[in-house]
């Protein structure tokens, strides 16, 4: 009896193997076709290579906006479980984020904003349409968000980043507490941020409404964002519903401190070109 059961299970397993492979291949080929549409305006070789490797690092955003592409999610949809559930990541990336990217491209099409970097668009955000402001912000902010998270995230920052956090806030614990407060008290849709203050080179915490960010000329306190936490309800509602505080506190278990550190280091290399 036992032997027969084993045989049946073995056969079922064998039969389902090709289906698993097909499903995996389908996912792979879908990612491939979606990934890199041909950019419209490329002027130099370095721009071409910047587009090919676009992952939303600080330097990647210096290229003309027309050349920006929608980057792949750096991990699987379920990779941030249990902190952020698969369905939330999938809809957030594939619907919300992609929607901002598409609408941003549409809003700048045929205008001179196509030749400008997002940094220079943000620096004059008070002079552009609401569609550009909302969608450029939505596109940029989410690239940062995905890159700031990792399945292997969590723990504490180290090295240079820990030093500047300690210098700016007194301790890592005080920093987290202040950041959480900013994230929990932002009323309605928005973001909480850790940014570099261009004047003092110290770090500061702020929160912004909707898809605004600290690079925008409309912000009271402007700076270069290193870490962003999305507190729109779409970022957490399927799993946490009204309990935003639980999402905010769980978020730290997936923070990719290497990414935050590399953005900090990169800021000093590109600061002069963020105009």
């Amino acid at each position: 009896m036992k032997k027969q059961l084993f045989l049946v299970m073995f056969l079922v397993g064998l039969l389902s193997l090709p289906f698993c492979l097909t499903a995996q291949q389908a996912v792979k080929s879908k990612t491939k076709t979606d990934a890199k549409p041909v950019p419209a305006v490329l002027s130099t070789a370095s721009e071409v290579s910047a587009v090919a490797g676009f992952a939303g690092k600080g330097e990647d955003w210096l290229i003309p906006s027309a050349n920006l592409i929608f980057p792949d999610l750096p991990y699987a949809y379920d990779a941030l479980e249990p902190v952020i559930d698969r369905q939330t990541v999938e809809i957030h990336y594939d619907k919300h984020h992609r929607g901002y990217f598409n609408n941003f491209k549409k809003a700048i099409a045929g205008t001179d904003l196509e030749t400008k970097s997002v940094y220079s668009i943000f620096a004059d955000i008070d002079k552009v349409s609401t569609a550009v402001r909302n969608n450029a912000g939505g596109f940029y902010n989410h690239v940062l968000y995905w890159s700031n998270l990792s399945p292997d995230g969590g723990g504490k920052p180290t090295g240079e980043l820990l030093e500047v956090i300690t210098r700016s806030f007194g301790s890592y614990e005080t920093f987290v507490q202040k950041f959480n407060e900013a994230a929990k008290t932002r009323f309605g849709s928005g973001w909480a941020w850790l940014s570099v203050d261009p004047a003092s080179k110290e770090l500061f915490i702020s929160s912004t409404a909707n898809q605004d960010n600290p690079l925008m000329s409309t912000e009271e306190k402007q700076g270069f964002p290193l870490l962003g936490m999305d507190v729109w309800e779409h970022a957490y509602y399927l799993k946490y519903q009204n309990k935003r505080a639980d999402y905010v506190e769980s978020f730290w278990n997936k923070v990719n401190w290497q990414d935050v550190q590399s953005r900090y280091a990169e800021y000093f290399k590109i600061a002069a070109r963020i105009k």
Binding site: I91, G188, A209, Q211, W232, E233, Y237, L238, Q241, N242
Partner: protein, 203 residues
Amino acid sequence: MNFEFPALPYAYDALEPHIDRMTMEIHHTKHHRAYFDKFTAAIQGTDLESKSLTDIFAEISKAPAAVRNNGGGFYNHNLFWEILSPSGGGEPIGKLAEAINAEFGSFEAFKTKFNDAAANRFGSGWAWLSVKADKSLCVCSSANQDNPLMDVHDCPGTPILGLDVWEHAYYLKYQNRRPDYIGAFWNLVNWNKVSENYEKTLK
């Protein structure tokens, strides 16, 4: 203190399938409740305790953010539950229908304008049908928990119909598809109540 947290005028699952039971329960017992609790805490011991919500909103620019956000959240949801009904839908009749036709040309044209206001409100907020001081109707939207009774609003009036477009109002069922939620909303509108609200503003 003369403010009370209202019971929902129907069961949590009464608006199914357009608004699901879980959304209604969390929306009423958590979100609405929290606005009420924080509002009453924010006005406790101040002279706002003896004022009506309408009077508080008329000078909201002088009140702290906690009063504005939570007072708005309390009032807006009170109105929202009242203008929905399991037996809602259809079209308005009588004086309200006449006023809608006079202002917007037709009921369909009004709906299109309201749908646009609701779909285009970026981030959290509300879409409204309000009666202005000159008694004409107007469609507009507001951010977060603001409303047309507030002195900060660019389209002042008395709201008679409101649609919550915070993601918490629809995300469990509709996720990113806000337009589907807006479309479903019309099947629930309690036009008798909206007419009653309208006629009250004429007195």
